[in-house]
Amino acid sequence: MATTTVPRTQADLPPIRHSAWGITARRRLAAYGLITPGVAWLMLFFLIPVLIMAMTSLKSGGVLEGYRFTWAWSNFPTAWAGKGHYFVRSLMYAFLTAAGTMTLAYPATYWIAFYGGRWKSTLLFLLLLPYFVSFMIRTVMWKFILADIGPVLGPLKDWHMLPSGFRILATPFAVVGGLIYNYLPYSALPLYVALERIDPAMIEAAKDLFANRTQAFLRVVLPLSLPGLFAATLLTFVPATGDYVEAEVLGSQNTYMIGNLIQDEFLKRGRYPIASALSIVLMLGMVVLTSIYARFLGTEDEVVAAAVTA
């Protein structure tokens, strides 16, 4: 395939402009010198832990007598037995979270990007304001807002607009609502970045070519904002799948997600091999899903770019 690719970053350009061999070698050495400490740290506190967890998932034994490595593959079916619905529920909640945050964030970021004018930075700042409050406090505050006799449901029940037994807390609605709330900025930022990059002249051009408002949006704006939608999906779907705080604070046993299960197995029951097996399945599942998704819709570069600009 003879295609010319536009270099995206400086680093994609041929790296060496000085031809002398000495400088080449020195540059290469410099690069390795620079990455060594960071890579060593990531090895020690990311790769090796994951490998040890993989090893732990193949141990057998008990809480009291300790665990020994025995290639206990049976941990995987044991961990899975009767727990499949936790995975299904997590994936479903995460899907609703990703779809919900994007649906909510798109119109607002669209308006800010195209019509925000001099209020742009102020509006963006307000969009990011939740980041300045601990997410645990925000979640607990939602528990207050949605409480059975709280500031929202309380009056509605007093006025007999709702039956007194009506509740939102401890339902999937509260959990997904909490997830959508907490991940909304993660979705809004990449969307904003993508929309802000679109040259308004493109839309003018579409209109000059007799596109109406809807056509201009569907055939120009929407396709051009796809990288933002792609990044927003990954930045919300993956972390939401592993999340368990909303499911516990705003939900009940019936809304428990895979994260709750892993936490309980690790920290409450001390069944490390089972917990590790669940965690490994979750990780592999996410890697496979994101790779398939990235293959069809974009590259990891775009996610990183969006994460950074955010």
Binding site: T9, Q10, A11, A30, A31, Y32, L34, I35, P37, G38, V39, F45, F46, P49, M53, M55, T56, A105, P107, A108, Y110, A113, F114, Y115, G117, R118, L123, L127, F132, V133, S134, F135, M136, I137, T139, V140, M141, K143, F144, L184, P185, P200, E204, T241, G242, D243, V245, V249, Q263, F266, L267, S276, S279, L282, M283, V287, E300, V304, A307, T309
Partner: protein
């Protein structure tokens, strides 16, 4: 930045009432985002009757008591102190590690570059619970006593990739000819780096530091796995929320919120001034 900074980028507004839909919607969405923050501030003034010092969803009236008694609970004060200490230390140590990675990835092509990028991407993309549980598995395996040290090591680990991508973005975007110019003017590579490269990428490094600080300060999932008996602020809130959080949690949250917003506004304001003086 884009040229048009005032008004709409798409020319004239629509004349019909429909032009209020999007701005109205945006305001509603912002209210949705800000609602729990307002709740947090309001409930810091909650005048809870009797000896109960736990919040419920009910608001009784205003008092400044909780501001006066802010430092009364040693457990909470200790948790906040731990959180701030961990955030500052982890950000300070992960910034140089991540900066070097970002520099190498942004400037040099080298064998293994793709592999390093991939590890960094994975470290960011893997769900937190996987990171937390794998770190716990490792600590258990080597018999490390859980506490402040294990939390710090973990935090430096998850902060570093974020610093690396932030710095890399800045390095990739910079104009390399500036460095070449310095070298043409007989600057040694070290001097060229210190006097030209470093000032250019400094905002990226600063952003990486701030990001690390915020991530560490707010982290719950990973910390929960590797903390043992040590408590941080999010852990304290999590532990008390079942019985009801003490109102002093709201006050600490409010104080941290105001401090963060002030720092951000100060930074924005200074950036604005700088931008103006540069334009003038």
């Amino acid at each position: 930045m884009r040229g048009i900074s005032y008004g709409s980028r798409l020319g004239g507004h629509r004349k019909r009432w429909t032009r209020f839909i999007l701005p109205g919607y945006t305001v509603l969405l912002l209210l949705f985002l800000i609602a729990p923050i307002l709740m947090m501030i309001l409930y810091g003034f909650n005048d809870i009757p009797g000896i109960a010092e736990r919040q419920s969803a009910k608001f009784f009236g205003f008092t400044l008591d909780w501001y006066r008694r802010l430092f009364e609970d040693p457990l909470l004060t200790g948790a906040v102190r731990n959180s701030i200490f961990i955030a500052i230390t982890a950000a300070t140590l992960s910034t140089p590690l991540g900066t070097l990675l970002g520099l190498a990835l942004g400037r040099y092509g080298f064998r293994g570059r793709g592999g390093v990028s991939f590890i960094i991407f994975m470290a960011i993309a893997v769900p937190e619970i996987v990171l937390g549980s794998s770190l716990l598995a490792m600590y258990v395996q080597v018999g490390a006593p859980l506490g402040l040290a294990t939390i710090l090591l973990a935090h430096i680990g998850f902060d570093t990739p974020f610093v690396a991508v932030t710095v890399r973005a800045r390095v990739s975007g910079m104009d390399r000819s500036m460095e070449d110019a310095a070298k043409d003017l007989f600057a040694s590579p070290l001097v060229a780096f210190l006097r030209v490269t470093l000032p250019i990428i400094a905002p990226g490094i600063m952003a990486g530091f701030m990001l690390s600080f915020v991530l560490s300060l707010d982290d719950f999932v990973i910390t929960n796995f590797v903390s043992g008996n040590t408590t941080t602020f999010p852990l304290y809130v999590y532990a008390t929320q079942k019985m009801g959080i003490p109102p002093t949690v709201n006050v600490f949250g409010t104080v941290l919120f105001l401090a963060g917003v002030s720092i951000a506004l100060f930074g924005l304001f200074r950036g604005l001034l700088k931008g103006k003086s540069a334009a003038a």
